[in-house]
Assembly symmetry: C2
Homo-oligomer: 544 residues x 2
C-alpha cells in the first residue's frame, strides 16, 4: 500500500493495527546514496566499519521506507501480510535539510521505477525527537510573543512610496466595503515584512496573512474582520494551524516510534544502513562512539534479525551462491527450500505474483518471505511442524539475533556486528601489510607469494597493500622467507594497525596541547633572549 502525505493521516491507524497484530515486521529503506569518501575496507573491524559509515553515509537522505507486517491466520494455517510503502521527504516547519546524493544511486533508483516527482511533492515529512522537542519549545515561545510589541524596521527611502500607496489602497478597501478581502502581489520578502509592520495600524478592522499560491509565489491577503470574529479568534486559529503543521512535519517518525515501542522482531536484509538511517533521521543524531551506537540501537530496536547474515551461516552458506536479495529469493524458491504462502487478504499487502524489486515495501515483503523460508528450513531440520514463529528468541533463531551483517568484510571470519555482546575478534595472523617498489603491479605481488598459495590483495596506495594468505598455516613461513627480501617490507597486520592507531593518538594529543605550547614558546623565547642576548647580566643566577 502506497503512503504519501496525501493519505498518511488516514492510513496511520491502519499501520498501528498492522504492527499490533504482527508476529514480526520486515523493513527496507531506500537512500539518496550509499557511501561518500573512502569505502569500508575488507579488514575493517566492526568498530572501524561503524566509524566509516558514520562519516561517509549519514549525510544521505532516507527517501522510501517499507514496512511489512506478517500476522498469523489460524484458519488458513499460514501467514498473511500487510505492507506499507512510505515516500519520505523532510518539510517545513521541520528544519531545512542539506543532504547528499550519489549520482549513480539516483540513477539506479530511477531505472527501477522510483518516482522522484512523487517523492518531492508528496513525501511524508519526518524529524528526530531532539528536533521535535526543540521546535515545540520554539513555537510555544514564539506564540507567547505574538501579542507583545515587535521590533520596528525603518522603511528605506526607495520603498516609502510603494508602502504608502499600499496602505492607501487598504484604507480604501476598508472604507468602500465592496469585497471581503484583497490580495497584494508583486512584493518581495522584505516588502512583505514592512507591510506586516505598517498594516498593523488596521489591526482592529482587518486581518493580514501570507498566502502561498499554487506556484509557491507568496502574496499578502488582507481580510476584513466581520462582526463577531475578532482578532483574538483569528489569532487562535492561526496558532492551532501552526501546531497542526508541526505535527504533520513530525510525520513518519511516529511510525518509526511505533515500531520501536512494539518491541517486535524486526527483519531486514543487509540492514545495517537501514538501522543507521532510521536512528539518525527518526530518533536522534548517531553517536560518534561505537559502543554508544550499539547500546542506542539495542535500546530502540531490541530484536533485530538480518537475513543476509542468516544466509551467510550454515546450513545456508553452501547452498546459496549469491545473497543479493533477488538471488536469495530465487534460490529459496527451489529445493531443498520452499517459500511459504504469505499473501495479502485485504489489498493492503503484496502477493507473490507482483514483481516490484527495489520498491521498499516489496523488498521488505520479500525479506520476510526469505526469512520464513530459512526459519522453516531450520525448524524442519529439528523435526518441528508448525510454520508459525511464536518466540523470536527460540533456539533456532538465537544465533542470528541482534547481529548485523557487514557486507564488505564478508570473506572474513567476522562479517557481523554483535549488538548485545562483544564483537568477534578473528585471527589476523595470516594478514600482512606489504610495502613494495613503485613499479610493481598485482601480478608481482601474486608472484612473490606464489610459493605460499593464493592471496587476497587490497591496495592502500602505489607502494603498499594489505595481503591475506588463503593458506593460513603458511603465515610463519612467509614472514621468515620475506624477511630477507630487500625489495619489500612485510609487517604483521596487527602490528600495522597498532602503529596507525598510536600515531593517531599522538596527533590528537599534539592538537590538544596547543595552548600550553604557546605559553611554552613564549617562555623559551624569553629565556633564550636572556641567555643569548644578555650575556653580561646575572638575571638567571637566582634560579641556579
Amino acid at each position: 500500500m502506497e503512503v504519501t502525505r496525501k493519505n498518511f493521516k488516514e492510513i496511520l491507524p491502519l499501520v498501528s493495527e498492522s504492527i499490533e497484530k504482527a508476529d514480526f515486521l520486515a523493513i527496507d529503506a531506500e537512500f539518496t546514496g550509499l557511501m561518500n569518501g573512502r569505502d569500508v575496507s575488507i579488514f575493517d573491524s566492526p568498530a572501524e566499519y561503524y566509524i566509516r559509515l558514520y562519516n561517509g553515509a549519514s549525510e544521505f537522505l532516507l527517501i522510501q521506507y517499507g514496512v511489512c507486517a506478517f500476522y498469523w491466520n489460524d484458519k488458513k494455517q499460514h501467514y498473511l501480510n500487510e505492507a506499507y510503502n512510505f515516500y519520505l521527504y523532510p518539510r517545513r516547519p521541520g528544519p531545512e535539510k542539506m543532504f547528499l546524493c550519489q549520482s549513480s544511486s539516483l540513477d539506479f533508483l530511477a531505472s527501477q521505477g522510483f518516482d522522484f516527482n512523487k517523492l518531492i511533492k508528496e513525501g511524508i515529512s519526518y524529524m528526530t525527537e531532539t528536533t521535535e522537542s526543540r521546535l515545540r519549545d520554539m513555537l510555544a515561545e514564539r506564540q507567547k510573543n505574538y501579542s507583545t510589541e515587535k521590533d520596528l524596521i525603518s522603511i528605506p527611502e526607495q520603498h516609502k512610496q510603494q508602502i504608502a500607496d499600499i496602505c492607501k489602497k487598504v484604507r480604501k478597501f476598508l472604507d468602500d466595503k465592496d469585497s471581503d478581502c484583497i490580495e497584494i502581489d508583486r512584493c518581495n520578502n522584505f516588502v512583505r515584512r514592512l507591510l506586516f509592520q505598517e498594516l498593523a495600524q488596521f489591526k482592529n478592522e482587518a486581518f493580514v496573512e501570507t498566502k502561498v499560491l499554487e506556484n509557491q509565489n507568496r502574496i499578502l491577503k488582507v481580510t476584513r474582520l466581520k462582526e463577531g470574529d475578532d482578532v483574538t479568534s483569528k489569532d487562535n486559529q492561526k496558532k492551532e494551524k501552526e501546531w497542526e503543521e508541526l505535527d504533520d512535519a513530525v510525520g513518519f517518525s511516529k511510525v518509526a516510534r511505533m515500531i520501536s515501542q512494539s518491541g517486535k522482531l524486526v527483519i531486514g536484509h543487509n540492514m545495517l544502513l537501514d538501522v543507521l538511517h532510521s536512528l539518525n533521521h527518526f530518533f536522534q543524531p548517531l553517536p560518534e562512539d561505537y559502543g554508544s551506537f550499539k547500546e542506542f540501537t539495542h535500546c530502540m530496536f531490541p530484536r533485530l534479525l538480518d537475513t543476509k547474515y542468516m544466509s551467510s551461516l550454515p546450513p545456508f552458506k553452501d547452498k546459496i551462491n549469491s545473497s543479493v536479495l533477488q538471488h536469495l529469493f530465487t534460490t529459496l524458491s527451489d529445493e531443498p527450500f520452499a517459500l511459504p504462502k504469505a499473501d495479502s487478504e485485504n489489498g493492503r499487502g503484496y502477493n507473490r505474483t507482483e514483481e516490484k524489486h527495489h520498491e521498499a515495501g516489496y523488498d521488505a515483503y520479500v525479506t520476510g518471505l526469505c526469512f520464513l523460508a530459512m526459519y522453516s528450513h531450520l525448524s524442519r531440520m529439528r523435526g518441528e511442524q508448525t510454520a508459525r514463529l511464536k518466540d523470536p528468541t527460540c533456539p533456532v533463531l538465537k544465533p542470528f539475533l541482534n547481529k548485523l551483517f557487514l557486507a564488505k568484510t564478508a570473506h572474513q571470519d567476522s562479517p557481523y556486528m554483535n549488538l548485545v555482546g562483544a564483537d568477534p575478534t578473528p585471527s589476523r595472523d595470516h594478514v600482512f601489510h606489504l610495502t613494495f617498489p613503485l613499479e610493481w603491479q598485482r601480478n608481482d605481488i601474486n608472484q612473490l607469494f606464489s610459493p605460499f598459495g593464493p592471496v587476497t590483495v587490497q591496495f592502500l596506495d602505489d607502494v603498499s597493500a594489505i595481503v591475506a594468505l588463503s593458506r593460513r598455516e603458511q603465515a610463519r613461513d612467509v614472514a621468515r622467507a620475506l624477511a630477507k627480501n630487500s625489495k619489500v617490507t612485510l609487517i604483521p597486520f596487527v602490528k600495522f594497525k597498532h602503529k596507525i592507531t598510536s600515531s593517531k593518538v599522538q596527533i590528537d594529543n599534539r592538537r590538544q596541547t596547543s595552548p600550553v605550547k604557546q605559553v611554552c614558546v613564549l617562555s623559551v623565547l624569553a629565556l633564550l633572549f636572556f641567555v643569548f642576548l644578555c650575556p653580561d647580566t646575572n638575571l638567571l643566577c637566582p634560579f641556579i
Copy 2:
C-alpha cells in the same frame, strides 16, 4: 525546445546554428540548492561574497540549463528567438558525483512543475575539460593494456564449484552449436570478474561481455564467434563503443564551450550563480582566489550582462519596485516601458503567450525580453530608432557590461562585482560594529540610535551586530555620543574588518609555524629542566 539525452545528438547542430546567427544569448540555470552554511552578509565586499559562494554553493548540482538565442529578422524588423531547455545529469563513464541538495529548493522546483524523473532518467551528462582530458588519457591507456595479460585473481574456495559448473556449461554450449549465445545470470560483481578471467580459455571460440538489463541487473553474455568475425574486430568494436560513451558523457559541456567560443553577449538575470556553476561544472573547478576567478570568468565569457544589475540603476531603479524576474517582466510590460516582439517562428523558441516560469529555457527567454525592453528604453531616451542591438559595447550598454549583481548586498552602494576592473569600495563611514548587553533586543538598538535617525541592523550573535545609519552625515556625532556609553562598545566597521582579517592572518601564521614550535617546546622543557631541577649543577654557566 526540450533537450534530453534522447535527442541531444540530433539537436546539437541546431544549437550551434542558433548561437551562430544570434545577436545575443540569454541563459538561465536551475540548481539543487542555493547556499549551504552561513549566508552572504549585507556588508560583504565582492571578494568576501565570492569566497562565501565558493564555500557554500559549489557542491550543488546544475540540473537545468536554458539557452535562448535572439536573432534579427530584417524583413519583420524585430527579433526572433530559438530557445533550448536542457535537462542535465552527470553520468558514467564520467566520474561518480556526490552533490548536495537543499530540501526547500527541490520542493520549490517540484511545485513549479520541474520533472525530476525526466532529469534523472534523461538528463544530459557533462564534465569539466580537466576531467575530460584525464578520462581520455585513462581510456587510451586502458585500451592499450587490453591485449596484454591481466593480473590473476585466485578463486576462493566457496566459489570454485560455481565457476567450474559455469565453465562446463559454456563448453557444452560451444560444442552443441544449438544457439548463438547464452546468458549467465545470478552472479554478483566478484563472480562476474572471476568468470571473465576463467572464460578467457575460450577466447578463440567465444566473446564474453557484460550486458546491462533494463532493470540494471548485470549479466554475462557469451557469444559464439562465427567464421569471419575474429576476436580483434570484436575488440575494436568494443573500443569504439567506449570512445562513443565517453563522448556522450562530455555531453552538454560542448554547448557551454560553444557559447564561450562564440564570444557573444550573454545575458542573465541575477546571473552570478549561473556563471559560477557554469564554470565549475563545464570548464574547470573554481579557483579559490577571487582575482583568478574574475580573470577566469572574463576569459570564458568575455561579454556578460546582468539584467538585475541593469534594473537597479537609473533610469530604471525608481520605476521598478521589485526586480524578481517575474515582477520585472510585468513592470516592463507597462508604460513607460514596452516589451518588444520576439516570437518564435519554427517552434524552436517561446512565445509571449506561454507561461513557464522557472523552466530555465523560458526564464532565459523572459530575461532576453526584459533586456530588450530596457535597451530600447535607453535607446529611445537617446533618440535612436532601431530596436536592433548591433554592438554590445555601445555607449548605452557599457555601464552594465561585465558587472554581476550581488543580490544580498543590494542596499549598499556597491551591489556588483566588476569583472574587468577594480570593484567599488563604497564608504563605510556610516557603518559600525556594536557590542551590547546580552538582554538587549533589536528595539534597544533602535532606541540607542534613535537620535541619529533610522538604522539597519545585522546581528552577528547575541551580543554584537553590524549597524548602518541611514543618515550618513550623523556618523561622527554617533561615534562621539556613544563613546561615553558604558553599556555598549562602538567600533567603526573598517577597523572591525581589519581586526578580523589580521587575527585570521595570525592564526594562519601560527598554524604554519607549528613544526618550529615543537622544537621550541622541547627546548623550553629541556631548559626548564636544567633551571629548576638541577639547581646545583653548573650546566647553564657556559651560556652566561
